[in-house]
């Protein structure tokens, strides 16, 4: 018996969906996936290391941070690809420049088009569905911004809609029709005015569709009480409402550990990995997991040596791909932690270009040609069980 949305051999193949989780501030990859047999790790970080007794080993040389136990469970179940040593040449140590580079794939110049906005343009060239990309949380990430592309940003899914304060339904409908007229100008009234028009129309079109989503959703899964848990639950609510959303974006902030790294990292990794586990459970409970892949990324890794309480901005980060279609395991190489190999005498040297990760997802998951979107051809990984998308 086919449940709504369930794929069996005969059902129409479901469109692949990408969920991006941005860890803002520069997650410390080396303290997330710990090279625990390396003396250099302990030598460089006399204070900011994870004590051996607390580590959660999963290979002969690598251990997860103790707060990442849910991630280890998912890894052992074969659902997590760890991509080690991600970066790009001449890594920017500025948070803001580094995030820009990740969002636009332009390390050498300032670009205005986000990589995921270009994906939206490929998937829905006419802009017929304002919910092709949905971002949860405040503000649209630059990855989803490009002229003429609609991406919906939702802060509060339970109360989403325009002119809700107008008392009578009839007047509200009338006012909405005037609103639509005021936001449908002749083209070319000015870039920002055009953008506003586009946004206003997107809101109108998306709002009526989105407001149904919370009503349709029930679940037995408990999420941890935190912002990233709430956002990932919202992803499931919209995904399971079958509104045609292909790209979801969420953010988890606070990873900039110049100080007090040990307690903060513990809290954040707990929130993150518990939320991700709940998210996957929730998707599975709804038979909605088989067409979802999650990318967890951050703008850079941190410096080898601690500064006595935290770590400063570095390079050589790491990312995770999670989902039912993921062939779990380790991908690319862990950056060498030996002092002789440090970049600038203090940084981890990246081993894999981030655009190759995007290329992998674009070509092998979403079935798109990545060349234009990431600005070139980059080595890809093979993290999927079977080719999907195309």
């Amino acid at each position: 018996m086919a449940v709504s949305g369930h794929t069996n051999g005969h059902a129409k193949k479901k469109d692949p969906v990408l969920v991006v989780v941005q860890l803002s501030g520069g997650n410390d990859f080396m303290n997330t996936v710990i090279p625990f047999t390396e003396g250099a790790y302990y030598d460089a970080r006399p204070l900011v290391h994870v004590a051996k007794k607390d580590q959660l080993p999963f290979t002969d040389t690598l251990a997860f941070h103790p707060a990442a136990a849910p991630l280890r469970d998912m890894y052992l179940a074969g659902d997590v690809a760890i991509i080690q040593g991600i970066g790009y040449e001449n890594s920017s140590r500025s948070h803001f420049r580094a995030m820009d580079i990740w969002h636009t794939c332009e390390p050498l110049k300032i670009a205005t088009e986000g990589w995921l906005a270009k994906v939206v343009r490929e998937i829905d060239p006419q802009g017929s569905n304002p919910l092709t990309a949905v971002s949860f949380g405040r503000g649209l990430p630059r990855a989803l911004a490009a002229p003429g592309v609609t991406a919906t940003s939702v802060d509060n899914l339970d109360n989403y809609g325009l002119l809700n304060s107008i008392q009578t339904a009839e007047q509200r409908q009338e006012d909405l029709s005037f609103f639509k007229r005021m936001y449908t100008p002749a083209i070319g009234t000015g870039m920002v005015l055009d953008y506003l028009a586009h946004t206003g129309n997107g809101v109108l079109a998306g709002a009526d569709m989105l407001k149904e989503a919370p009503r349709l959703y029930t679940s037995s899964v408990q999420y941890p009480d935190c912002a990233i848990g709430k956002s990932l639950r919202d992803v499931v609510r919209v995904h399971t409402a079958n509104l045609g959303t292909r790209i979801f974006y969420t953010q988890h902030g606070g990873y900039d550990y110049h100080a007090q790294e040990n307690p903060s990292h513990f809290r954040l990794l707990s929130e993150l990995t518990q939320s991700l586990r709940a998210f996957m459970q929730d998707l599975r409970e709804h038979n909605a997991s088989d067409n979802v892949t999650v990318l967890v990324f951050t703008e850079f890794g941190r410096r080898m040596k601690d500064n006595g309480s935290g770590t400063d901005h570095g390079s050589g980060g790491g990312a995770f791909l999670i989902g039912d279609r993921i062939q779990g395991g380790l991908y690319s190489e862990y950056p060498s932690v030996k002092p002789a190999d440090w970049l600038n005498g203090e940084d981890l040297r990246h081993t894999f270009d981030f655009r190759g990760v995007y290329g992998t997802l674009l070509e092998q998951w979403l079935g798109l040609d990545p060349t234009e979107i990431v600005g070139g051809t980059y080595e890809q990984l093979r993290p999927f069980k079977t080719a999907a998308g195309a």
């Binding site: 500025s94 971002s135 503000g139 809700n164 609103f179």
Partner: protein, 468 residues
């Protein structure tokens, strides 16, 4: 329709403040423009607000200062009511640029003192501002300078004072960053008073000589046993600093610019304007009051009407002024903190040290919804003083008003607001459905009030209303 003099004064008071009521606007416009600018840039000539009454209605403000929401509500009240609006606007400007936030410390009294410092010194010398910022406990904790030790530097503050607070990326080296960090070692705060039983107290700056690296440092080609003040001195002499601060001032007070990370590679929107402001900065030895005087009196400023997207707090304060409420100590100020929050701006809590992204980045589907919904909810009730004043002026015409005249007058009285032909046409069509506006009988009057209220709420829902 609106005369140019009135429109220009409205522009000045939207930028140098948070808009005006119509009555205030007309009083200002009766005076010479330069004289008003001079009054704005010298706020100490005008008496400050008396907050004592406010404190009676909002006990949090007087006793326990741990509640950031009521303190932000009080800031909105100041924005709406202060007779020295540029003082509040400068505090908001520096809050955008020299960003530090509540989220990390969760320590409200220290954030309050931070904002008070921005208000007190905002029109002063940039050197003073940077030194006070470097001694500010909120900033010290936010960028970990309390963890910046002589024997083990923490370069967080050293990096951001250069990248985001003064010079901008590309004007210094990684070695400069480390040397700046060394110069600020030992700049920390004293052990705070315990939280219990009386709640948080503001923290105090303290210099610890034993934790200061007093050895020689090289910074931007200068060498010496520099401390933080020496570093700020060198920073403030740099043309890069003059340009960076000028570009921020332009972005906030004149017209939307590209976002900060683009500045090292993207030319300013108006290079001549930046050159003019930079010259004023360097000629006055970094005196912000002098730069602001040049800015407001410039042609590029006067020509930049409706060239920037309002930030959420400007939208909120402007709509409250239009509604004519909260001139006294009405309850409900605290709610405004939540209103700006859902539009993407929590006062005393910018999202990162980069501050808020401005311009059209304020607006996406979610935040546009919140902006429109808030503005509409504030002006919908025609019994509020602002709508009543507009209705009174329409009634004072003493003759029926046709749809076009009605719409043009509402747009004038609500701004004056410039709108696109499509927007005006939509409003005129709405107005035309019920014919002329008349105030003869009680019945006509009631119907007319409803019609004006509806035009007003669609006006504030328009695209154009998002701009200042």
């Amino acid at each position: 329709m609106a005369d140019e003099r009135l429109a220009l004064m409205a522009h000045l008071l939207r930028r140098a403040g948070f808009g005006t009521s119509r009555e205030e606007l007309e009083a200002y416009a009766a005076r010479p423009y330069e004289e008003v600018v001079e009054e704005l840039v010298n706020p100490e000539r005008i008496p400050d607000l008396d907050e004592s009454v406010l404190r009676r209605y909002y006990p949090h403000l007087g006793a326990n200062q741990d509640n950031p929401n009521s303190w932000n509500g009080r800031w909105v009240w100041r924005m709406v009511n202060s007779k020295r609006p540029l003082e509040e606007k400068m505090a908001l400007f520096w809050h955008h640029v020299l960003a530090t936030g509540w989220t990390k410390s969760e320590h409200t009294p220290t954030m309050i003192e931070h904002v008070e410092m921005l208000r007190r010194d905002g029109l002063g010398n940039f050197r003073k501002i940077l030194v006070e910022l470097s001694k500010d406990p909120a900033m010290i904790y936010w960028l970990d300078n309390n963890e910046n030790h002589a024997k083990s530097i923490n370069e967080n503050y050293g990096r951001e004072i250069l990248e985001l607070f003064s010079m901008g990326i590309g004007n210094y080296s990684e070695t400069d960053i480390k040397n700046v960090a060394r110069a600020f070692t030992g700049w920390t705060f004293e052990q705070p008073i315990p939280l219990y039983p009386y709640g948080h107290y503001a923290s105090k700056f303290v210099f610890k000589p034993e934790d200061h690296d007093n050895s020689e440092k090289t910074f931007l080609g200068n060498t010496g046993k520099f401390n933080g003040e020496d570093i700020v001195d060198i920073i403030c002499r740099q043309p890069a600093t003059a340009r960076f601060v000028s570009r921020h001032l332009y972005n906030f007070f004149v017209a939307d610019e590209a976002q900060v990370p683009a500045w090292s590679v993207q030319e300013p929107r108006d290079p001549e304007a930046i050159a003019t402001l930079s010259k004023a900065f360097l000629d006055s030895d970094a005196d912000i009051r002098s730069v602001m005087r040049v800015l407001f009196n410039s042609d590029f400023f006067k020509a930049a009407q409706f060239q920037r997207v309002k930030c959420p707090i400007e939208l909120v304060a402007g709509v409250i002024k239009l509604a004519g409420t909260h001139r006294g100590v009405d309850p409900g100020l605290v709610a405004f903190d939540g209103a700006t929050r859902v539009m993407g701006q929590t006062l005393m809590d910018p999202p990162t040290v980069e501050g808020w992204h401005t311009g059209k980045e304020w607006i996406d589907g979610g935040t546009l919804t919140e902006r429109v919904n808030f503005a509409v909810s504030q002006v919908s009730d025609v019994k509020k003083p602002g709508p009543q004043s507009i209705i009174r002026r329409l009634a004072d015409y003493g003759r029926p008003l046709g749809p076009e005249e009605l719409v043009d007058t509402v747009l004038d009285l609500a701004g004056p607001l410039q709108v696109q032909p499509e927007t005006r046409q939509a409003l005129v069509e709405l107005a035309a459905r019920d014919g002329e506006l008349r105030f003869g009988s009680d019945d006509e009057r009631q119907k007319s009030e409803e019609r004006v209220g509806r035009l007003l709420r669609l006006t504030v829902a328009s695209r154009e209303y998002q701009f200042a």
